[in-house]
């Protein structure tokens, strides 16, 4: 299988890529930090993957078309895309610095929308687009602020893309990890609800194998979020979680 991984140095993307590497897949990795990217590439090669890398800031949209052309030429064809770039940011900065709030939207929503728009034109029937969204997109909470808004936007876009590409035989999979113990959440106190990146990575590979529409990782978040969505707003706005 030939897979394009965007945001390949994210802990969740690494975990999924390890499973694919072990299966002997060919991986085209893109991430901003070149040194970190090559650390990830070496790891995946040692695990059995064939790996190509491009170090590039995905927020720079002027490079998107060339990047995707490169990936297509290098891989020959793309069987699956894992879109995993994203930032959470510090809560104080997110809530008080409008430029930072916009950067969150740019990284988590605008750049992914641009990339997926270009990819949608290039993927062949049978391919799968899997994008890392979050349970945070299901209902706005003070604790996640604009991060939740970016993921809500991504959810909506992915749902639309899924309808649009269905007839062409291209699957769109929305991945919704819950709380995951990664560098992104390093500053937050951990509790029993946190999952390991390895477990989430295995879940992603399974969701792509089964061509799921929306995959909660782990699965029980589906029921938790159903409950969270059902709470009346008058009550929800007083909650502290």
């Amino acid at each position: 299988m030939k897979i394009l991984v965007l945001g390949a140095t994210s802990a969740i993307a690494q975990a999924a890529a390890r499973v694919w590497a072990q299966r002997g897949c060919e991986l085209f990795l893109v991430a901003r930090n070149g040194a970190r990217l090559s650390a990830v590439a070496d790891d995946l090669r040692a695990r059995g993957g064939r790996v190509l890398t491009v170090a590039q800031d995905l927020n720079d949209d002027s490079l998107h078309e060339a990047l995707l052309e490169n990936a297509l030429v290098a891989l020959g064809t793309i069987d699956a895309v894992l879109l995993a770039q994203g930032i959470l940011g510090d809560a104080l900065k997110r809530d008080n610095d409008p430029a930072f709030a916009e950067l969150v939207l740019r990284t988590n929503l605008t750049a992914p929308v641009r990339l997926l728009t270009l990819l949608a034109q290039r993927l062949k029937p049978g391919a799968c687009i899997a994008a890392v969204s979050s349970i945070a997109g299901e209902r706005g909470r003070a604790k996640v602020g604009v991060y939740g808004a970016s993921k809500a936007g991504l959810d909506s876009f992915l749902s639309a893309l899924r309808q649009r590409l269905r007839e062409r035989g291209v699957q769109v999979t929305t991945l919704k990890p819950g709380l995951v113990d990664t560098p992104m959440t390093a500053a937050l106190p951990k509790n029993a609800l946190y999952a390991s990146p390895a477990a989430v990575g295995r879940g992603i590979v399974r969701a792509v194998d089964r061509r799921c529409d929306v995959a909660y990782l782990p699965w029980w978040w589906r029921w938790v979020m159903r409950l969270v969505r059902a709470l009346p707003e008058a009550f929800f706005k007083r909650m502290k979680f």
Binding site: N33, D42, D43, R45
Partner: protein
């Protein structure tokens, strides 16, 4: 709260800082620091009460596997390594009783295994590593004084970022093993001498309640397909099940099961080396108070008899004869003689008194205690166990310390 495997003593850490990248790693600003990966040391050598821990499990990448040489980051566990390398016909040169330890931890404690009589310690198979200290990054190889200080250096000489390990060729995942019941220490000594000459792996389990009868295990890598065990069962919460009665019942049942079972069999390496990993969080069976482990090495058979006389009931009393292979580590624990390890449920004063008796007997017999297992030894016992401690102390990074080190270096 972050604990050690024995869940004793308790420690409050001012901060726990995860590190995920070797490429742009920097030491956190908190002081003092101590690396922490899996927390499988039993006592306080992986704790830093009042200080900060650098959580290193994020350093979990392989770097290369070329020929017999594996290079990987220091937070990779030995279990993760075996999962990668065994299908390619390579095994770790030394493994301890659990696969859930990191490469950094294996170096810091210079761990040993059932093949000590042949292979020596883990540190003897490390070819290179990179260490991050408060004055910079250094690549070390055997022969460098900082290398010798870091092997068995209890994480005090800096943060190991990656290491290179010389692996060994094996035919596959199978171990051909034998379990031989014995009655008393004389039979153990005879079995040990005979087996160490012929087998790569040897270890014994003994029942101190029943005149030191026990089971001698020996094995070696063999051809044959064996599937690994499934997911581990788990002890979901603290539940104090280990007491004198259950230990007696367990020991009786275990001895008889081994005696009645097949004497020779082909086993997956996981079952042979890491039987306790089959039950996740087994340390919870000692209840909230946790437990102490006592592990010593004593030079002679008579010394071993003297220590065993003081030994209380323990479900996991393990005995092995160490070999002559010398480790480069300044604070390395294994040395020629007999090593004995046993667990003591923590019942406060009474348990500490038992510990002191064991400690005194072992030290007076010219023995040494193992820091990775220890929560109670006094500074004098430490000094008697590690004659190179002053030479070692010069290599401690000024930004690093641990609960263990502060305890044993008290004047």
């Amino acid at each position: 709260m972050t604990e050690s495997w024995g869940r004793y003593p308790a420690a409050a850490h001012a901060a726990e800082v995860p590190i995920a990248w070797r490429t742009d790693a920097a030491l956190p600003s908190e002081r003092p620091l101590l690396p922490y990966a899996c927390g499988r040391s039993y006592g306080d050598s992986c704790l830093n009460d009042g200080g900060a821990l650098i959580r290193t499990r994020g350093l979990d990448r392989f770097i290369s596997l070329e020929g017999d040489v594996l290079r990987c980051e220091a937070g990779v566990t030995l279990g993760e390594i075996l999962e990668l390398t065994v299908p390619r016909g390579l095994f770790l040169p030394v493994v301890p009783g659990t696969k859930h330890v990191s490469v950094g931890g294996a170096i810091a404690n210079d761990i040993h295994g059932k093949n000590h009589h042949r292979a020596g310690t883990f540190g003897s198979h490390v070819r290179r590593f990179e260490i991050l200290r408060s004055n910079g990054r250094f690549e070390c190889a055997p022969g460098d004084p900082l290398f010798d200080a870091t092997i068995g250096g209890l994480g005090l000489t800096g943060l190991v970022l990656w290491a290179e390990i010389l692996m060994k060729r094996v035919p596959g995942p199978a171990i051909r093993m034998e379990a031989i019941p014995f009655e008393g220490l004389d039979e153990f000594f005879a079995l040990s001498d005979e087996s160490d000459a012929k087998f790569e792996y040897t270890v014994a389990w003994i029942d101190v309640l029943r005149d030191d009868r026990g089971i001698f295990f020996r094995g070696e890598h063999a051809e044959g397909k064996k599937r690994g065990p499934g997911a581990a069962r788990s002890v979901p919460f603290s539940l104090r099940l280990v007491n004198d009665f259950t230990v007696q019942a367990f020991n009786e049942a275990y001895f008889n099961a081994q005696k009645l079972g097949r004497r020779k069999k082909l086993q997956h390496y996981d079952k042979f080396f890491f039987p306790l990993d089959g039950v996740a969080h087994w340390n919870r069976l000692y209840g909230k108070g946790g437990f102490l482990q006592f592990q010593c090495v004593v030079p002679t058979a008579d010394a071993l008899r003297a220590v065993l006389k003081e030994a209380p009931p323990s479900p996991l009393t393990v005995l092995k004869k160490f070999g002559e292979v010398k480790s480069p580590g300044m604070l390395s624990f294994p040395r020629p003689g007999f090593t004995l390890a046993l667990d003591l449920a923590n019942r406060g004063g009474e348990t500490y008194a038992t510990y002191i008796r064991l400690e005194r007997t072992a030290i007076e017999a010219g023995g040494a205690l193992y820091p990775a297992k220890d929560a109670r030894m006094n500074p004098k016992s430490f000094a008697a166990s590690f004659p190179r401690r002053e030479e070692f102390a010069k290599f401690i990074d000024p930004a690093f310390s641990s609960s263990f080190w502060r305890r044993v270096s008290r004047p």
